[in-house]
């Protein structure tokens, strides 16, 4: 009888972070998972280890409910990084994007990601611009999986 741990797992797609959900092989289906507190006043990027609502200190085990973010958001701030760690390709636009929680139009979660599809020049980047989530297989990991990253492109 085969041990489950010996089963060979075929390489596939893996999200770079836990909160990027890949429901199918079609990366246009990708979305960002969140957790919303009881009264809908705060939301967090999903993490398998986040159990409680740290916005209020509510330690009820049911203090957070799963949710997903919309696929469109608004650029809050950015920086254009020209110097980073060895191996990191520069320049790139590091952005903070405010993204609404689906079903909670007034509740937003800040997402850190690259802004792509626009030149890394301050004059070309407009604060408050509308952007859309795009998931892309950017690298291979040591097991041969495609590592999928979330990034934002101007609408």
């Amino acid at each position: 009888m085969a041990d489950a741990t010996e089963q060979k797992i075929e390489p596939g797609q893996r999200p770079i972070v836990d909160y990027l959900e890949l429901p199918s092989n079609d990366l246009s289906d990708a979305y960002i998972k969140a957790l919303v507190n009881k009264d809908g006043s705060a939301a967090f990027l999903y993490s398998p280890t986040r159990r409680f609502d740290s916005s209020t200190g509510d330690l009820d085990p049911d203090s957070l409910q799963p949710a997903r973010l919309e696929n469109e958001g608004e650029l809050w701030v950015y920086t254009i990084v020209h110097q980073s760690f060895p191996g990191v390709e520069t320049p790139f636009i590091g952005a903070i994007v405010d993204v609404p929680v689906q079903g909670h139009p007034d509740l937003k979660v800040a997402v850190r990601a690259n802004l792509v599809g626009v030149e890394p020049e301050p004059a070309k980047i407009e604060l408050g611009m509308k952007v859309r989530l795009r998931a892309r297989a950017a690298r291979k990991d040591k097991e041969g999986n495609d590592v999928v990253i979330p990034e934002f492109v101007p609408i």
Binding site: V17, H82, Q83, S84, N114, D141
Partner: protein, 384 residues
Amino acid sequence: MEDVFVAGVGMIKFGRYPEETVASLGAQAVKLALDDAGTQLTDVEMMAAGNLYRTNMVGQDILKEIGLTGIPVYNVANACATGATALREAYFAVASGAYDIALAVGVEQMGKKGLLGGTGGGDPAYITEGVMGTGTMPGVFGMAGMEHMRKYGTTQAQFAQISVKNHEHAMGNPLSQYHVQLSLEDVLNSRTVAYPNTLYMCCPTGDGAAAAVLMNKDKIKQYTREPIKIAASALTTDPYTPRDLTFPDINTMTRNAAEIAYEQAGLGPEDIGSVELHDCFATAELLHYENLMLAPEGEGGRFVDEKLTDLSGPQGDKRWTPVNTSGGLLSKGHPLGATGVANVCEITWQLRGQAGDRQVPNYKAGMAHVIGLGSACTVHILTK
């Protein structure tokens, strides 16, 4: 709570000392502070040691260099607020009445470690830096500056002018890591690290140590007739704000710490003669003008334009409050664990009238501020 006084301070010139150790750097600063206080290590009853990169048993290793007196030692790590948190531990050791004399030391040996951060271990395919924005400090503080640009129309040149000012201030401080005068063009034309921060708008890394001897009221009378009082010691962390877990909020905890400190000291911003604040990046300094209530909300840029935080600024203007007379982190340097204690050294020298070419006239109270991302903020107010 008993009143607590600064009896002695000392710091070594910040720089690069690859031939030294963390303990030997710390030992030099302790020696300077003890001599300044006119006291002996055998009189010290407790020690709080701040160090970020090594963290474990640094205080004890310093005692192995200078004297194993068997006193209790607390080792403290709190990001860039490490040194100031050690000082606060020593402060409470005296304020509580448990000890008459306490020693705080902050020390760091960073070498040329760049960007004030790391990428972590694991499969490199899952490193997010560069493909999911940036967590490097120049980038994070660049975005913090960008938020101010977005809200108030602040310009990159206004941020850059702060670097010009702090490098100019450093020319009067022999303990500064760098002594380089820069023009606004020099700063703006240096290579961009993380827009809007150019190279000269980023603090250097380096090695350094600073120490302070604290005493209660009865003890300090035996050493000086002009005691420097720690009139306030505030430590805060982030309260919940909506973006904070993604985009560190460096403002709210600083505002909260400033409010607590002003109330403890019974003073207001108008009473403060100068401020040593956490200018790890030029963008950060401008935000803290407002966070520490030196400037009204949104007017940090105007404060720069009017040179209200510049030693060479309008002394007759009641808003004039020189900031980072030491040269600040941007020029004096930022050996992480040492910075919080070094800021208190500068304020002490200002209060005593020992600040030489960078002395602020008619000085009665000063403020020392640091923040560490992750997050921690301390504000100390010293008076005479």
